[in-house]
Amino acid sequence: MKTVIYSSPFVPAEWLAAHGVRPQRIRPDPAAALPSTSPLTGVCPYARAFIGELLAARGADAAVLATTCDQMRRSAEWLAASGGPPVFLLNVPATWQTPASARMYRDELQRLGRFLVGLGGKTPSREHLAKMIATYDARRAALRGTLGDLSARQASDAIARYDLGKGEPAAPELLRGGSPEPPRSTPVALVGGPLMRGDERVFDLVEQSGGRVVLDGTESGPRTLPAPVDRRRLPDNPLLELMDAYFGAIPDAFRRPDTALYQWLGRELAASAARGIIVWRYVWCDMWAASATRLREATGLPVLDLDVSGDESGLARTAGRIQAFMEVLR
């Protein structure tokens, strides 16, 4: 079975699986971002790492990138020109309030389907697609069921395992084993772009500084899990259900307008009782760079604008800034 690598939450894993390929949503390894893989200055570390990972990956038969950010859009072209695996660029509309944008997303999924068939996949029947969607929906429901019992770090790990297609979510007791919840720790939210492999240690850094992440609003966290599907409607039009679950539900900074993101944050921040927000953004990520001040205005909470470079040398600085922020919140 062919393996298709992707990173955007707007790429439906079940659509790939229904076409007979193995979907793997990865968190790229920052160490893969070799200087030779793309320009150093001005390119987001995540995009560089993703390019590097794909160029080095032996098990990847194809990659799907999305147009949800300019740098990843251009990474698709860079990858294709650098001798990487076949690349499909999924055009995810930034607008979402018109029927035309939903149609465009649907058409793009269908085009992706043809790409997958070209790779050796098979066009799914309606029944097969519905079954696959139901299977993934059930897995996600199980995953969601476990997340509430886990620390943010554990939950993030669980989602990463799920994204990689590593079987059923593990039971909470198996996932536990991290540090116990620190007494009188300060609850904070982590909001922003995607995590790279190893970035999960940001949760540890927060804990070591006397805090704990009570809301993971990064692109790699529960925020970008698609919505549950309507099982009654699923057999009639599974593709429509898929669109609703993904395009119709996932709040993100690239969407225009981005009101759904702020509605989600308002709801979840209130529920989590976070006392501060850490904005996780990569250097050169414009979407999240413009969000920190706005988050402060919208929520009234203190905000740490954490620009991360993705290299080890920046870790001490990141740790220092988190520590200072947690002291302020104490």
Binding site: P39, R73, R74, T95, A100, D286, M287, S291
Partner: protein
Amino acid sequence: MSDSPKRLTMEELDRLCRRRQAAGLPMAAYAGPLARHVEDGDRRLLKLQYDDSAAALRLWNFLLTEEDRLHAARAAGKKIVGTMKDLGTVPVMAYAAPNLVAFYPDGAWWTPCVMELSEGLFALAQSLGLGDALCPVRAMAGAFVNRAHFPIPDLLTCSVGATCDDFSAVAQRLESLGYPILWWEMPSRRQPDPGEPAVTLPGGFCAPESQVAVVRSELERVRVALADLAGLPLGDEELAAGIREANRVRALLGDLRRMAYTAEPCPMPALEMLIAEMLAIHFCSDRAESVAVLTEMLDEVRSRVDRRAGVLAEGAARLFWVNPVADLRVMNLLEDCGARLCGTEFLFCHALDTIPEDLPPMEALARMALADPMVGPSADRAARIVRDARALGAEAVVVSRIPGASHCAMEGGVIGRIVRQQIGLPVVELEVPPVADPLWPTLKTRLEALVETVLERRLR
């Protein structure tokens, strides 16, 4: 204004202007010494060098009085449309209504340069959370807040999707501050799949028909909003007339560019050509006057070409310039280094191409919008640069990077690689901040080295 054209300082140009005024020579109502704009804070004007023609004087005055025109339009009861990001499409539609005036608030990205950072727009943008990780277009947000540079539009439109993230982020911030925006989708242009119905766009790019249809339907939403604002129908007939008028501007520019970029010696400086090209995107808020200004420019260039009069010495290195410069003075610098422009791709080549007049207007506009070099692969853009550079006899290519711009880092690499591979020209990348004075020695050295390379290659 003389038989041997030359570049002048602002003081010299203003002396010529006053002499023309004293002599009662015909001048546009908005014309006058540029010093009045320096008094308003446009201090960069003091450091620029200008072409010495009456046509160039008119061009500069036209450019520098745009804010006055916008305020006058509002006072006259016209509605103002702020069209963001698409660079050349929505204004064609807006000017099809007699009571609409469209402009690009994006143009504020040059204000920090023209005012040498004295206007505080970047500081204002910073206070809104738009720091220097974002490209200089963040100045636009500051201009909305301090309201000192243009009237707040009655309608704001913004193309999003396959656009730079900087712009999308800044525009979203604007909306969060209470400026409603009509967002319209611009899909990422792609090559048609095998067997997929496709069309050739103005300028030569190819796109699937389905993508043109998406853009057409999005522009329909814009059309409805414009008609609502105007309180007048904006039917195909009106749009077709608007397209014809836009094509008049484009045709004039086409002739001007062809003549100015190919004639030897160089008949018109790079800076004036940059300003002239900018008129294409929204007519500097007066379409009819744009035609008059460009006609005079073209007449001047034609006259110089006929008598082999150049503003630069013969034999200047022929550079093809990619991307607009954040600091206008760099256009002077390239000439100081012994080079000249022989072609450009300032991010809006789709605003220079003729809009098809044999198609339904909305179809024609959609095709034009989708031909935007920014919305497609960098390889497409590079292919056009290769084609134009070859046709115009370029000897080197300069990719001018815009600080912080999300597209520049990867795009520059792709363009450079393709240009080198396909036409074997030397390529240099420069990053030009809004006031480049601190980098002047570096920029000068790099451009001089490029010129030396070009001259050395001529000897082979």
